[in-house]
C-alpha cells in the first residue's frame, strides 16, 4: 500500500481526498454527538432554515465553532510538530515534549490569574489578547530552550530534547504553584485547559485562530524545501549553500507561533505534533511539500476524532481532548523510541 502510494502520481491526491471524506464523516458524527443528540435529518433542516426547538442555536453557537476549532488546532499543531522534527532532526520532537506548550500554558494561566474577574478575561478583547499571551510564553520557552541547548554555536538534537524536558518541568511546576492560589472554579478551568481542551466555543475564537493559521501554514509550505534540506543534516545544507542557522531560526519561529496560537484556544495538547507528521511521512515519504499539508489534514482528523470520542465517552461531562490524544500518543511515542537508535 505504502509503496503503491509512493509510486503512483495520483497517490497523494487520492490520499487527501480519502482523508477529507473521512474528516467529513467524523464531522457528521461530531455534530450529532453530545449531551443533546440531534438526528441528522434535523441537522439538515436546521441548516436550511427549518428550526425545531433550539437546535439551530446549539449547532451554530456551540457545536460548529468547536468542530471548526478542533480542525484548525489539529492542523496547526501537526504542522508545528512536523517543522520541529525536521529542524531538530529528531523524530521525537513535538511542541508538547519540548516544553513550548508548557511555556504558553504558563503565560495563559498567569494571564487568567492577573486579570481574574476583569473585562480582560471575559470581554471580547481577551479573545485576541489571549493568543498573544500564549505566543509570548511560547516564544520565551523556545528562546530558553534554544539558548540553553546552544553550546559553542551548535545545537545538538539530544541536548535540545533534554533541555526541553527541563524547561517543560520548570514551566509545569510554576503553573502548578499559580494554580494552587486560584479559586476553585478558576482552578478547574485551568486544569481542564492545561490538559488540552477546546474551550473557546465561539466564532470569534475561530476567527482569531484562523488568522494565524492562514498566515503561517502557507509560509511553512512555501519554505518546505528548506525543511527537506535541513532534515539531511548540517553538512549537506552548508554544501548546498543554505545558510542553515538563519533558515532554522525562521522556521523555528513559524513552528513556535503555530503552537502558541493553537495552545491559546486548545490548551496543552501533547503528542499530536508527534503522531501526525509521522503517519504522513510513513504514507507519502519525506517530501515536505506533501508532508506538511497531509500532516495538517491528519492532525485535524485525529483531534476532531478525539474530541468527539471524549464527548461521547464522558457524557454528560467532557474529557479534555488532550488527555485522549496523550493516552493514544504516548504508546506511539514509546514505539518510536524503541525503534530509533
Amino acid at each position: 500500500m505504502i509503496q503503491l502510494l509512493n509510486k503512483s502520481k495520483h497517490g497523494y491526491k487520492l490520499l487527501c481526498v480519502t482523508l477529507l471524506l473521512l474528516l467529513f464523516l467524523i464531522l457528521i458524527v461530531s455534530i450529532n454527538a453530545g449531551f443533546i443528540k440531534i438526528p441528522l435529518s434535523q441537522v439538515w433542516s436546521a441548516f436550511f432554515g427549518n428550526d425545531i426547538g433550539n437546535q439551530r442555536l446549539i449547532l451554530f453557537n456551540f457545536r460548529l465553532p468547536r468542530i471548526v476549532l478542533a480542525i484548525l488546532i489539529g492542523a496547526g499543531i501537526a504542522v508545528s510538530g512536523a517543522i520541529m522534527q525536521s529542524i531538530s532532526r529528531n523524530e521525537l520532537a513535538d511542541p508538547g515534549i519540548l516544553g513550548i506548550n508548557a511555556g504558553a500554558s504558563f503565560s495563559v494561566v498567569l494571564y487568567m490569574f492577573i486579570f481574574h474577574g476583569s473585562s480582560f478575561l471575559t470581554g471580547i478583547m481577551s479573545i485576541f489578547l489571549m493568543p498573544f499571551t500564549a505566543l509570548l510564553g511560547a516564544f520565551i520557552a523556545a528562546a530558553l530552550i534554544y539558548g540553553f541547548s546552544r553550546k559553542r554555536g551548535k545545537v545538538t538534537p539530544i541536548r535540545l530534547i533534554l533541555v526541553g524536558i527541563g524547561i517543560n518541568a520548570a514551566f509545569a511546576s510554576s503553573t502548578m504553584a499559580l494554580q494552587m492560589k486560584m479559586e476553585p472554579q478558576d482552578f478547574m478551568k485551568t486544569l481542564t485547559w492545561i490538559s488540552g481542551s477546546i474551550w473557546g466555543t465561539n466564532w470569534s475564537f475561530v476567527i482569531s485562530t484562523l488568522l494565524w493559521l492562514i498566515l503561517l501554514i502557507p509560509i511553512a509550505v512555501y519554505k518546505s524545501r528548506f525543511l527537506d534540506i535541513l532534515s539531511f543534516g548540517d553538512e549537506v545544507s552548508i554544501g548546498l549553500g543554505v545558510s542553515i542557522e538563519k533558515e532554522r531560526l525562521k522556521l523555528l519561529l513559524i513552528g513556535v507561533a503555530l503552537a502558541g496560537a493553537c495552545v491559546s484556544v486548545g490548551g496543552g495538547i501533547t503528542f499530536l505534533g508527534l503522531i501526525a507528521p509521522h503517519i504522513s511521512r510513513a504514507l507519502i515519504g519525506p517530501n515536505h511539500k506533501k508532508v506538511l499539508p497531509l500532516s495538517a489534514l491528519l492532525g485535524s482528523l485525529i483531534l476532531l476524532g478525539a474530541d468527539t470520542v471524549g464527548r461521547i465517552v464522558m457524557s454528560p461531562t467532557e474529557m479534555p481532548v488532550g488527555i485522549l490524544v496523550s493516552i493514544l500518543g504516548a504508546p506511539y511515542f514509546i514505539y518510536l523510541l524503541m525503534r530509533t537508535k
Binding site: 524536558i165 527541563g166 509545569a172 511546576s173 502548578m176 481542564t192 514509546i334
Partner: protein, 347 residues
Amino acid sequence: MDKTNKVADELQDEASYKKKIGITIILFGWIAVLLSVIFSIHFGASHVTYRTVWESLFSYNDNNSAHVIIHDLRLPRALAAVFVGAALAVSGSLMQGMTRNPLASPSILGVTAGASFCIALAFAFFPDITYGKLILFSFVGAGFATALVFGIVAISKGGNTSVKLALAGTAISALFTSLSTSIGLKFNVAKEMNFWYAGGVSGIQMNQLKYAIPVIIIGIVISIFLSRSITILSLGDEVSTGLGQNTRIVRILGMVAVLLLTGAAVSIAGMIGFIGLVVPHITRFIVGIDYRYIIPCSAIIGAVLLLAADILGRMINPPFETPVGAVTALIGVPFFLYLARKEGTNL
C-alpha cells in the same frame, strides 16, 4: 613513572579526604537534620517559641493550644519532609548507581507518576481507603511504571542510554498523568487529587507517617546493606562480574529498595520532583564515588534539602503556601539544565 605515581597519590589523597568528609557528615549530619526540624516546627503563622517546641516534645500538655498545633500539624509535617527527602534522595542514588545513568531519578523515570496514578485510582474507587492500603497502591503503581520504563529501554534498539531513559520516563509520566487527570475529572476528585499531586507535606497526619516511616527505614537499611555492591555495579558490569558479584541479586534487591522508598514517599507527599536527581549529584561531588558514603549522606542531605524547600515554600508568599514540589523544581531545573549541557554530548 614518577609522574603517574604522583597523580595516583593525589587521587588517593583526594579520595581519602572525601571519605573523611563523608564520615563527618554521617556522624554529625543528623544534628543538622535535628536543627532544621526544630526550625521548621518553630516557623509558621502562629508564633511558637523554641522553649514551647521543647516543652511540647518532652512535657506535652493537652490543654496548651501551641502544644496541640505542634503535635498535630508541625511535627508531622517536619517528620514527613525529613523522611520523604531522605527516601527520594536514596532512591535516586540507587537508581543512578545501578544504571550508571546521571539522569536516573524517581520523577524523571515516571516512577512517581505511576505511583500517583494508582493513588488516583484508589481515591476514585475507594474513597475511604486507609493509609496503610494507600501505600500498597502506591507501591504497585511505582513498580508498574518502573517495569514499563526499564522494559521499554531494554528492548529498544541501541540499548540503555540516558536520553532514552529520560524520554521513556517522560512518555510514561505523560501517559500516567493523563490517565490520573481523566480519572480525577470523571470521578470529581480532581481538586483534592491535585493538591496532593503537587507534592506537599502540609496537612500530613501522624497516622499516615505511622505506615510510611517504617517502610522508608527498611528501604534505607537495605540500601546501606547493598551500598558496597552498588559501588561495584557503578563501575560497570564487567568489573562487577569479574569481582565475583552476583549482579542480578543486587539489581533485584536494589529495585525492591527503590520501590519501597519511592512508593512510601509518593504516598505521603505526592509528586516531588528533582530531589532524587539533584541530591545524589551533590553528594557524589562532596563525598566521592563510594556508595557506602553516598547512600547515608544523600539521606541526610535529602532530608535537609526538602525541609528547607518546605520552609521556603511557606516563606515565598505568606499566608499562601507554594507547593514544595514547585520549590524543588525551581532548585532542580537549573541543575538539570546544567547536566544536560555538560554531559549532553556523551549522554
